[in-house]
């Protein structure tokens, strides 16, 4: 996308369409406030769907607007700004999600290993089933990691409930191509998952589990 003009900061540039010709900081501030109020709901909505909680989404939304505030070459018009915000929100949300999941899948992986070595003490949950579910999550993480970034993003965004138009905005692709890309990504995901799952199943059998 990157429809940038000059290197004026957003506050200066977006303030009244006259880069560098601003009278006062107050007007810049007022202009930014308007933008903030107009676009916040959408940014928050994307992040809430990605991150699952109001709190996490609020924190991340703050970061998105901070990036906008510091942007040297912000999009010059509303439509561009809207897409820019959607994309930044999505990328930030995806990064938070990925690093969060990475930690979790790592923990779960260790937990699975730990559990394998200690005797089962309680039957409240079927430990074998819990371990399997945790292993499955780790496998999902590994599969996603092995895929291209765009395919990964597509799968996560769609399964977080974003509409095709939103996905198109966020990924900078044509709305008409979302279906095609999604179909491809899902096929790839399933294939990779099944291959990895088979490989792990074989390992488990070897270990005599």
């Amino acid at each position: 996308m990157a429809t940038s003009v000059g290197s004026d900061s957003l506050a200066r540039n977006l303030a009244n369409g006259e880069p560098g010709a601003l009278a006062s900081g107050e007007r810049q501030g007022a202009r930014f406030e308007t933008l903030f109020l107009r676009h916040y709901g959408r940014v928050f909505g994307i992040l809430r769907r990605l991150l699952g909680s109001n709190e996490a989404a609020e924190d991340a939304a703050q970061e998105v607007f901070l990036r906008l505030y510091r942007q040297e070459a912000p999009p010059p018009d509303e439509a561009g700004l809207s897409r820019w915000l959607a994309r930044v929100a999505t990328n930030l949300g995806l990064n938070i999600l990925r690093s969060d999941r990475r930690q979790r899948s790592h923990l779960q992986h260790s937990a699975v290993l730990d559990r394998a070595e200690e005797p089962v003490r309680e039957e409240r949950h079927d430990p074998a089933r819990v371990a399997l579910a945790q292993e499955e999550t780790a496998t999902v993480h590994a599969v996603l990691d092995g895929m291209g970034e765009r395919a990964q993003a597509l799968l996560i965004l769609r399964n977080s409930g974003l509409a095709y138009a939103e996905i198109a905005d966020a990924l900078g692709v044509a709305p008409s191509s979302v279906g095609t890309l999604l179909a491809r990504a899902e096929r790839e995901f399933r294939k990779r998952y099944e291959a990895l799952d088979r490989a792990e199943g074989a390992r488990r059998t070897e270990r005599g589990e």
């Binding site: 709901g41 928050f44 609020e58 993480h141 799968l155 996560i156 095709y164 191509s177 995901f189 998952y193």
Partner: protein, 449 residues
């Protein structure tokens, strides 16, 4: 006909037979996938359904896509966060609250940038402020804060050891020792205070607070500076007749660390209180006791003076969460006995009457009254109000010029401590995110550089 109204993809995949309008080609994979998700127009949906009815190939492709989509969704469901059960806040409220938070962040950053070059004093002050903020109630309502401020002002007036100096032109007070009095900060509720203050009234109170008095100061942004090393700090203090004291021992966490040094020039400040505004405010605070304080008759303004001496701060730490600071205030020339800043009280004020009135406040906690009354040597002792969950003790500092009584304040959670004492005209403070033993270790081992 129907199909002609759609986009170009439709025309290319569904060219109409000139004869009967029958759909000739199969559906693009992307559109099939969109159809599964309901992300097609109503016209498309109907056209696709018709086609799928008659085309086994497309129906099979659709099933395959559906299978992939379901497997993917089921697996990702474990991986993705569980959607929050809590309802998303209403959009407008949510956005304006977020905007306020955003602006606060910007202001905070601007402030940090502005203050950044000022060095150890600022860092020290911020950490001390942070500690005190933790110590006090996090969310005092503005009105309560205003009441607290006026109360504290009144307490300062009331408790200042004045009577022995009453015949002097200026009633000057300087620290010779410290005493702590516990104040229930969140529980200022025990003082008479507004019960129900509306937001409008709160705003009014804040404006009044600004109108309460006029501060003046000769301090500028250059008053406080960072200097390169202990030699420069010593040279600065020498101009003001003092010798820099450096720690002979440090807690393990700070040992070997190179400190930063800050210097502060002596300053002179005044605060001119508008008596009428103060009375008006106290009346608004709905507190008959406070509004009947014995203000001097016929006096519209009272001017308080504060002279602070030159000071050096020595700071060890990361500048973020952990730090240890030593502040040393040189003596003020011609300021009489005592140490540290000199507080000059206006002649017109009958401080004894004020003190008596405050101590007689019906709402004042009895233990506070008792503690205040217990303080001996009014003309020598600075009363430090401390929150109730803090603990204080009197300690003896083995200082440069012999033994000196000091006041040690420990916060309730053991996160920080502060030690104050004076030694022959020099006021010292050692504090930070360190425990009692470490503070005493530093204080007892200060030595001339």
């Amino acid at each position: 006909m129907l199909a002609l109204s759609h986009g170009s993809w439709f025309v290319s995949y569904f060219p109409l037979d000139a004869e009967d309008g029958a759909i000739m080609r199969c559906i693009d994979e992307g559109r099939l996938r969109a159809y599964l998700d309901g992300q097609v127009t109503e016209d498309e949906r109907m056209a696709f359904a018709t086609h799928l009815d008659g085309c086994a190939l497309c129906a099979g492709r659709l099933r395959a896509l559906d299978g992939d989509a379901h497997v993917t969704a089921a697996l990702l469901a474990h991986w993705l966060p569980t959607p929050s059960a809590s309802v998303a806040p209403s959009e407008e409220r949510c956005a304006s609250v977020a905007l306020a938070r955003f602006q606060a962040t910007l202001r905070e950053e601007a402030r940090a940038i502005e203050l950044a070059p000022r060095g150890p004093f600022v860092v020290l002050k911020e950490q001390m402020t942070a500690m005190l903020t933790r110590l006090t109630a996090p969310r005092l309502r503005p009105a309560l804060a205003a009441v607290s401020l006026v109360t504290i002002l009144a307490v300062v007036l009331a408790f200042s050891p004045i009577n022995s100096l009453a015949d002097q032109l200026f009633k000057t007070f300087r620290v010779q020792q410290f005493a702590a009095v516990a104040v229930r900060v969140p529980g200022m509720t025990e003082l008479p205070q507004p019960q129900q203050v509306t937001p409008d009234q709160q705003l009014q109170l804040q404006q009044m607070l600004a109108a309460l008095g006029t501060p003046t100061t000769d301090a500028t942004k250059d008053t406080v500076a960072e200097v390169a090393d202990s030699a420069a700090a010593q040279a600065f203090l020498a101009q003001h007749g003092a010798t820099l004291q450096v720690p002979g021992q440090l807690p393990a966490a700070y040992s070997g660390m190179t400190p930063r040094y800050g210097t502060a020039q002596p300053t002179s400040s005044t605060y001119t209180l508008n008596v009428a505004t103060a009375q008006q405010y106290l009346a608004l605070a709905n507190s008959p006791e406070l509004s009947s304080l014995p203000w001097p008759a016929g006096v519209s303004q009272l001017t308080f003076g504060l002279d602070t001496p030159a000071a050096v701060a020595t700071y060890y730490g990361d500048g973020q969460t952990n730090g240890l600071g030593i502040v040393q205030m040189a003596n003020l020339p011609n300021a009489g006995p005592g140490a540290g800043p000199a507080l000059k009280l206006p002649d017109e004020l009958d401080v004894n009457a004020f003190r008596a009135a405050i101590l007689a406040l019906p709402g004042l906690p009895q233990d506070t009254v008792a503690q205040v009354k217990n303080v001996q040597d009014w003309d020598r002792t600075l009363i430090i109000p401390v929150p109730q969950d803090a603990t204080t003790k009197n300690v003896t500092i083995d200082g440069i010029n012999g033994e000196n009584p000091g006041l040690l304040i420990l916060d309730g959670q053991g996160r920080g401590s502060l030690l104050l004492w004076q030694d022959k005209g020099t006021l010292y403070a050692v504090g930070g995110t360190v425990n009692e033993a470490d503070v005493l270790l530093v204080a007892n081992n200060l030595k001339p550089r």
